[in-house]
Amino acid sequence: MSRLFSFHGGLKTVRHKTESNTFPIEPGPLPRWLVIPLRQHMGNSAKPVVQPGDRVLKGQMIGQPDGYISAAIHAPSSGVVAAVDLRPVPHPSGLADLCVTIETDGEDRWIEREPVDYRRLHPSDLRNLIRSAGVVGLGGAVFPSAVKLNPGGHCERVDALILNGAECEPWITCDDRIMRERAVEIVAGLTIMAHLLEPREVLIGIEDDKPEAIAAMTAACAGTGYAVRAVPTRYPSGSVKQLILLLTGREIPEQGLPLDIGVQCFNVATAHTVHRAIAHGEPVLSRIVTVTGHVHRPRNIDALLGTSFADLIAQCGGYRDSVERLIMGGPMMGFALHNDDVPVTKATNCILAASAEQLTPEQPAMPCIRCGACVDACPANLLPQQLYWFARAKEFDKARDHHLFSCIECGCCSYVCPSRIPLVQYYRYAKNEIWAREQEKEKAELARQRHQARQERLEREKQEREAKLRQKAPPRAAAETGAETTGGAG
């Protein structure tokens, strides 16, 4: 029953958890300016429903979901909307995206909140509440949770609801701290999720290097029947596919969803926000961010969405000397930022200010010697060096045939490569190219159809004109034309 399974590959990485996890979560600052991106989730960007000059209250919706896979965005504090325009956002490109900028008034005045009893609500109403509270996966993938809480169609019955507290990336400790400090609220949110999904069992997976979190969660689960499982500390145990395999022994099919095998998985912080949304009527306005690395006081901060990274760094005592790279997320999968003047979003689990010693210096890639270290490390059981050849030669069709899209971009292959080839970067590049080409193809197909429609319309109009001409023309001429046509056809 409590048997643990194992996954292929993976790594023992550096940990660096204690820098930040020995201190309690600190409340974040209330900055004068909050810049709230309207795309903080997977799917369509939210549509802005405020204009510059509008007064907004804390918790007021400022962006409404656009389509099924989208999420609502709310004002994290009260104030006046200063702008709705393009601002730099935390993204590897360093590009700008549509944001609502709020000048806060310092009063932090709430909109009217409506706590509800989840047991009295119809499941679809409950899901709508979660959706309009802007609840998305806070583990980093930021997929709208309301969609995942609707099992309809994928499986007869949900076997297992899994709460992901593995937190396998080095340096990050926000889930560790939230489990230690807010375990009861997490379990309350988990109960609401279980109410919606009606699973046979509820499992909570936590890496065994977090004994305090395991103890807190076990205590909070007393009497609920939920099982807390310690999983071995091995990167990437916190990846959905690997955690589900560890806990249930089942593999999500290629290109499939967890629900295809009757499992659904949420991050612990997401459960916390579900509880706040339903039992307190509070939408997602803040999240716990680990600020760590080469800063003076590494901490976990409960930061308002839209707070600038620079403000959080300042709260942590500022940079120590020689910070070379600012990373959002962990060192394995996180991306480097161009500068620190970008806002915290729902995806910001960690801000890692890294010095040269904490990084591996960039080195020129050597030729692949096919040593197979990447094959042994790949948790998706791919042949990374083969994918690398295909991606490098731009043979994208072959890369796809060799299961490029099973790659979870965990970075294990690049980590172990003795030739220092940026393998995972080649896969990201290949995936991007394949998507771009598909989009181009769709666009070309649309253009072809429109061109064809136009040709047909022109042809039809020509014929109609000719028909009109024939009607207007004297009968003899018409007879002649007719004869000619017939003759031509004959």
Partner: protein, 341 residues
């Protein structure tokens, strides 16, 4: 506002480089080489020095000729090739023999095919086979090991004269390798047991040789332990060799040598851990590596027992090099989430 360098993840990497892997291979060869030097004298070391020097010069020249940076010289891969070849040469091989072998390996087999990572054939074995086919007499003139017959250690000066001026060595000091003896006498109708009574044989296999084999086994196991070599290839090769030699031994122990003799003779252990494990030319999939190794093991036995050469590691490795891409094609691992079976 602070600006930072924008580089892609992962931001930390394991501190293992190609150079480190290659140097581990060199370290792992030391015990075996020490045993060879003890039993066969200075010649082994002189060969290693000549081969290393020629390999480094050839590598540098080829990198320069191809317009590549000279940095890869530091990865020691050329030295590994040189050592693999030098260890396989007779201890008093004339200097030009070693030079031709190393040049064939580095210039032809490695760089003309695109350099490190691109060569389809194991360079050291290409060099060895070129010599074996072109200079059969020089390649089969081995010294008899210390402790057999009238063997006495040659001085360094004698060794250098033999290697560089080709001064003939007293006939009493030279002889055939144990596998050569086995094959020749087998042709004359002796049984395996009778042949094993010859003084060139020791406890398990060739006198002296068996200690070198032990050294290479120790080094090889350390390579596996440090993950510088994949365990599957030696396992497959020794498994394949053991299996097929056991089968024939059970059929006729008079005519076929026992499996332990085969495993402990010639280049079987050395080949399994140091030659077949060259990743560039081996199969790359986990299952493929077992099959690749087993193929080499079986071929080694077939060549030894039925072929025209006393040992067959070099030919077997080259033959399986050809097969490696095909093996890879048919042995992909089951991708996560793909249906089993």
């Amino acid at each position: 506002m602070m600006r930072f360098q924008a580089v892609t993840s992962p931001h930390v990497l394991l501190e293992t480089s190609v150079g480190q892997v290659m140097r581990r291979v060199l370290y792992a060869m030391l015990p075996g080489i020490a045993a060879l030097v003890w039993f066969f004298g200075w010649g082994v070391l002189v060969n290693l020095v000549i081969a290393t020097a020629v390999a480094l010069v050839a590598e540098a020249a080829m990198l320069a000729a191809r317009g590549k940076p000279l940095a890869p010289l530091g990865d020691s891969s050329a030295v590994v090739t040189a050592w693999l070849l030098a260890v396989a040469l007779p201890p008093l091989a004339p200097w030009w023999l070693t030079t031709i072998g190393v040049l064939s390996a580095i210039v032809v087999a490695k760089h003309l095919y695109g350099g490190l990572g691109y060569n389809p054939f194991n360079p050291a074995m290409v060099g060895y086979v070129v010599l074996l086919i072109s200079f059969p007499r020089e390649m089969s003139t081995w010294l008899i090991p210390r402790g057999v017959g009238q063997a006495h250690a040659l001085t360094l000066a004698e060794t250098l004269r033999a290697i560089f001026v080709s001064t003939p060595v007293v006939d009493a000091l030279t002889g055939a390798t144990p596998l050569d003896v086995l094959r020749t006498k087998m042709g004359l109708g002796f049984s395996v047991a009778e042949i094993r009574n010859s003084p060139v044989f020791g406890l398990v296999s060739g006198h002296g040789w068996e200690w070198a084999v032990l050294g290479f086994l120790a080094g090889g196991l350390w390579l596996i332990y440090t993950r510088a070599a994949d365990w599957r290839i030696p396992t497959g090769m020794l498994g394949g060799l053991a299996l097929i030699s056991t089968v024939f031994y059970l059929i006729n122990p008079q005519k076929y040598a026992p499996p332990w003799f085969h495993l402990w003779s010639g280049a079987a252990i050395f080949g399994a851990f140091f030659i077949a494990t060259d990743p560039v030319t081996a199969s790359a999939t986990p299952r493929g590596r077992l099959i690749y190794g087993a193929g080499i093991g079986v071929l080694v036995y077939i060549i030894r027992a039925f072929g025209g050469y006393p040992d067959g590691v070099a030919f077997s490795v080259l033959l399986m090099n050809i097969a490696a891409p095909t093996i890879d094609l048919y042995t992909p691992p089951r991708v996560f989430g793909a249906r089993r079976g």
